[in-house]
Structure formats: structure tokens, C-alpha cells
Symmetry: C2
Subunit: 346 residues, 2 copies
């Protein structure tokens, strides 16, 4: 895969990719010589382009058009030609300034992050909030509602709140509930929700649960409330920016794109895939192994705090994406959100 290219070929490939990123149109040999000063004639450039096409880095939509980079071309560009420099302090500060999180709760932060990422990159922002199961138990509260319903409120260590309505034994009074929540808050403190689930399942079967009424009730309530956890929270921002890309300009493509962005399931699967990886991940074109998404690239990064809550954010756009701009944005934002979640900064 990592073929050798001489310097001239590299320069020309880079020029083509970069010109194509801004113009979205096939690049001809004359255009190259005009815009870049290689001290080469169009004819020489044509020879190189012909070689690059032979090697699969370029292709031409038809005989008398210019050339456009293939996915392989973009790969080579990203892996070997693009240097993503770290952001300077000024740039960081500039990015930082776009985000305002003061006094926001989790959902709002996620939404805001997506919005700003989309605005900065001019592509579509995706943010998947930390899965609740990955967080650490902090506290549980009960609120009795009418008609024998019980509102259960969990709070995670990092301040995420999740609530659920369950049917509960109507004989439970306020004092019972207080006892139960005290019991659970004592027993489950500091455990991951996942571990809590397992512990509950286990304890419900022990000998002690048979005669300890309080424990039994506590366990069965929290079991009911924890099962079938609500689906994952995905925020899509700036979907309409996708429609501004010339590669998706036909009505059919627009429909397809919007449908895909609307069916969050597909996107969640995508973001889940970078769940285990470290740092920024880049999926170019068909690397997004999903039949419903064509011609798109995805740049993602994980964010997390020390308390185990892990989410994913990213930017999706056409393969012809301005990687040099987007990669630092995604990288920096992920780090920023991680710090926000630690409340190291506000």
C-alpha cells in the first residue's frame, strides 16, 4: 500500500488534492502549473499525472476532464503529505473562545459542542454522549408520582442525570423510600453502572435477599429501573451543511444524506467503532464500512474523564474534506470536552 513516490510526484499529488479540496472539480495539468510554481510545463505534469493515475492515486471522470484524487490518493495525502501541526496557543485560545459551557448540564454541553464543531469546520458535527452504563454511580433518589408510579433519578459521579418512571409497590411510603435510597447509596457508591447491574442480579439470588425485606425491595426497584436503559444520546449538528457540498447536490443524494443523518442508529454504530481507539481516527470513503454512506469521510475522537464516562465526537463531510483544518479541531475539541467533564475548567 505504501508505495514510494518521488518528490515531484508527491508535490503534484499534493497540489491536486489541495486544489480539489477547494474546487471540487477535476484538476487539469495547466491549472496545476498556473496555480503552483513547479517550473514545469503542463506536458510534464501530464506525464506525472498519467503515472499517478496508473498507480491508482488519481482517476479521470472522462477522457477530456482533469483528474481527481481517488480514495487511495486521499489516503496517501493524509498519511504522507499532510502534516497536522499542533495548534498554537493563540489558535487554541481562538477555538476555545467559541465554546461557552457555563452552567450547562451534560445534554446542553453535548449539543453545544456539536454546534461549534460544525460551525468551525463547516461540516456536520456528531457528538455521542457518554453511555450511562460507562459512568460511575453517585447517588439515587426517588420521587413518588401519582397513580403508584415512582420516578427514579440516578446521578453519576460526573454529574450526568438519568431518570426513569417505574411502577412500584404502592405500599411503599416516603420513609421506606428514604431507607431504600440510603441503603443503595451506601452499597453502590463508586461502582460503575455496569457493575451495579451485575451486583444487583447477583444479590437478588442470595440467601439474604429472601428474608431481608428492605434489601429485597431496594434491589428489585433498582433492578427495574436500571434494566433496558434508554438508548444512546446522539447529537447531529449542521446537517444542512452537508447539502452545501457540490458532491451531494442532486436531490436524490440530498434525500439519502438527510435520511441517513436522521436515522441515528447508523451514526451511533459508526461512532461506536472508534470507541476503543486512542486519539483522532480518520475514516476515508469506503473505510466507513456502511452501505448507506457513500463519498463521506469521518473524523472522530474519544473524550472521557477519569471517572470512566466515555463519549465520542466527530465531524462528517465529503471525502474531499479539508483534513488539515478538521483534524486539529476534532482533536482539540475532544481534549477540551474531556477537561470540561473533569470540571478542570469551566
Amino acid at each position: 500500500m505504501a508505495e514510494e513516490l518521488n518528490e515531484r510526484s508527491q508535490n503534484i499529488l499534493e497540489a491536486i488534492v489541495e486544489d480539489y479540496i477547494v474546487s471540487a472539480e477535476p484538476i487539469g495539468s495547466r491549472a496545476i502549473t498556473r496555480r503552483h510554481s513547479f517550473n514545469l510545463s503542463p506536458a510534464s505534469v501530464r506525464n506525472v499525472m498519467s503515472d499517478l493515475e496508473e498507480m491508482g492515486f488519481l482517476c479521470s471522470p472522462h477522457t477530456s476532464a482533469g483528474r481527481i484524487p481517488t480514495e487511495k490518493g486521499f489516503h496517501y495525502y493524509i498519511d504522507s503529505l499532510l502534516q497536522v501541526r499542533d495548534l498554537s496557543k493563540q489558535e487554541e485560545a481562538r477555538l476555545r473562545k467559541n465554546y461557552r459551557f457555563k452552567g450547562m448540564k451534560m445534554e446542553d454541553i453535548m449539543q453545544e459542542v456539536g454546534r461549534v464543531m460544525s460551525g468551525l469546520s463547516n461540516y456536520t458535527g456528531l457528538v455521542m454522549a457518554p453511555k450511562f452504563a460507562s459512568t460511575v454511580f453517585r447517588q439515587i433518589e426517588f420521587v413518588r408520582l401519582s397513580h403508584g408510579r415512582l420516578l427514579v433519578i440516578y446521578v453519576s459521579e460526573s454529574g450526568m442525570v438519568q431518570n426513569k418512571v417505574i411502577k412500584a409497590d404502592p405500599s411503599l411510603d416516603q420513609r421506606d423510600l428514604e431507607q431504600i435510597s440510603n441503603y443503595l447509596n451506601r452499597e453502590l457508591n463508586g461502582m460503575s453502572i455496569q457493575a451495579v447491574r451485575e451486583k444487583i442480579a447477583l444479590e437478588l439470588q442470595t440467601e439474604r435477599a429472601r428474608y431481608d425485606q428492605l434489601q429485597k425491595r431496594a434491589l428489585s426497584i433498582s433492578s427495574a429501573a436500571l434494566q433496558e436503559e434508554s438508548e444512546e444520546l446522539l447529537f447531529v449538528s449542521g446537517a444542512s451543511r452537508m447539502l452545501e457540498q457540490p458532491e451531494f447536490s442532486t436531490p436524490e443524494q440530498m434525500k439519502r444524506i438527510i435520511q441517513t443523518l436522521e436515522s441515528k442508529k447508523v451514526l451511533i454504530d459508526l461512532l461506536d467503532r472508534s470507541y476503543d481507539a486512542q486519539g483522532v481516527q480518520i475514516f476515508v470513503g469506503s473505510q466507513i464500512q456502511n452501505s448507506e454512506i457513500h463519498g463521506c469521510s469521518l473524523i472522530t475522537a474519544k473524550f472521557s474523564n477519569k471517572k470512566g464516562a466515555v463519549g465520542t465526537l466527530g465531524v462528517i463531510g465529503p471525502v474531499r474534506m479539508d483534513y488539515s483544518q478538521v483534524i486539529p479541531i476534532v482533536d482539540f475539541t475532544a481534549q477540551l470536552v474531556s477537561r470540561i467533564m473533569e470540571r478542570e475548567i469551566e
Copy 2:
């Protein structure tokens, strides 16, 4: 405005509107006589159509095309020709069956309602959750987080949960918080959030607040947590269905529509407008007094429970909307959601 039309004109107008609703194309005189048995020749129908055009109910896109209803034509159709019959028990049951709310919390219900309405109508569903300020205070809970932050959780009478992170005096310990929440739960019970706000503002200025430390702290915390309430929750479902309408088939229109649906602000303003009205409201075309929305009609209804929580739901689609189908869906859904919110049914 409510001009008189003889029966024949009415029949023909009705036929044109209904044919146009399914075909989205100009209707010619022959097509009318073919599809409906008026025992009239195309030429006679032409005469009537000419009159209807004169009166402003129809217009022709160009000389040799058929005719399409104007907004005025749609109005006349909706007001005088369309009879929205109530749903039969079977139909209600069929609609009812689409909704599954079991064990869902507010946000999920709202989302689900939008999804199902969109699915049933084949247009785009809008649901605006009850404004928190319109609900009735039930309970307040505090959870201390790290770095001196305090998570405040409100629960409304109808089970809506709202939470907010505030900075709090680090000297407050668990016992203080319990006292404060007990105090607030006692004092504020049964009041609307709006009233709570006012009460707090008032009491903070009283003489007593000066020396009663507990009260003072309680008031200032709840004041901090209640101010600047999070924005309204709007759920848009099936935006892509808008793109399937032939009237919005050009890329430019698609972009505009999606941008509009994405900027929830515009939609919230729209839905807010039917906040005071009773029953189903219909806005045809330019009656949606919003420069960003052209060629759309909106059908909305309010839902509420006896505890004061009031939200709005509706369906938005092209002016050429199947009103006879959508109106009962919106009407029924609003009633259904009201009952759900009362927990009369599950």
C-alpha cells in the same frame, strides 16, 4: 372572503383540490371529467374552471397547463368542502396501537410522538414539550458533585425532570442540603414554577431573609438554579419526508427546508403561536407568517394535563397536504398525549 359557490363549482373545486393533493400536478379539464363522473364535457368544466380562476380559487402556471388551487382555493376547501369526520373506534384503536410509551420518560415520549405522527401522516412531525415554567413544583433534590458544584434536580408534578449544575458555597454539607431541600419542598409544594420564581424573588427581599440563614441559603440556591431556564425542547421527526414532496424537489428548496427545520428557533415561534388556542389549528401557506417558510401548511394542537403542563404538537408539510388525513391524526394524538400525561392510560 366567504364567497358563494354553486354546487357544481364546489364539486369541481373539490375534485381539483383532491386530485392535486395526490398528483401535485396541474389538473386539466379532461382529467377531471375522466376521473369524476359529473356528466359534463371538458368544455363545460373549462368554463367553470375559468370562473373559479377569475374568483381567485385557481390559477394556471402557464397558458396551456391545467389549473392548480390557490391558497384561497385550499382555504375554501378546508372551510367549506372538507368534512373531517371523527375517527371511528376502530380507527382510533389502530392509531393508538402505533404508540408505545411504556416506561418512557417525558423526552422519550415526545420523541416517540413525533416519530409516529410523522410516520402516520407521511409529513414532518413537530412536538414541543411542555415548558418547564408551566409545570407544577413537586420536589427538589441536591447532589453534591466534585469541585464545589451542586447538581439541582427539580421534579414537576407530572414527572418532568429538569436539572442544572450550579456553583455553591462549599461550606454547605450534606445535612445543610437536606434541611434546605426539606424547607423548599415544604414551602414550594404545589406551586407553578413561574410562581415559585416570583415567590423567591419576593422573599429574598423580606426582612426575615436577613437573619434566617437557612432560608436565605435555600432561596439563593434555588434562585440561582431556576434563573435562565434551559430553552424549550423541540423534537422534529421525519424531516426527510419534506424532501420527498415534489414541490420541494430542487436542491435550493431542499437546502432551505432543512436549514429551517434545523434552526429550531423558527419552529418554536411557530408552535408558540397556537399556544393559546383551543383544538386543532390550521395554517395554510402564507398564514404561516414567517419569511423562511414558503409553500408549507402547518396543523397543530395543544396538549396538556390538569397540572398545567402544556405543550404543542403538529405536522408540517406542503400546502398541498392531505388535510383530511392529517387533521384527525393531530387531533387524536394531542388528546392521547394529554391522557398519557395524566397517566390515565399507559
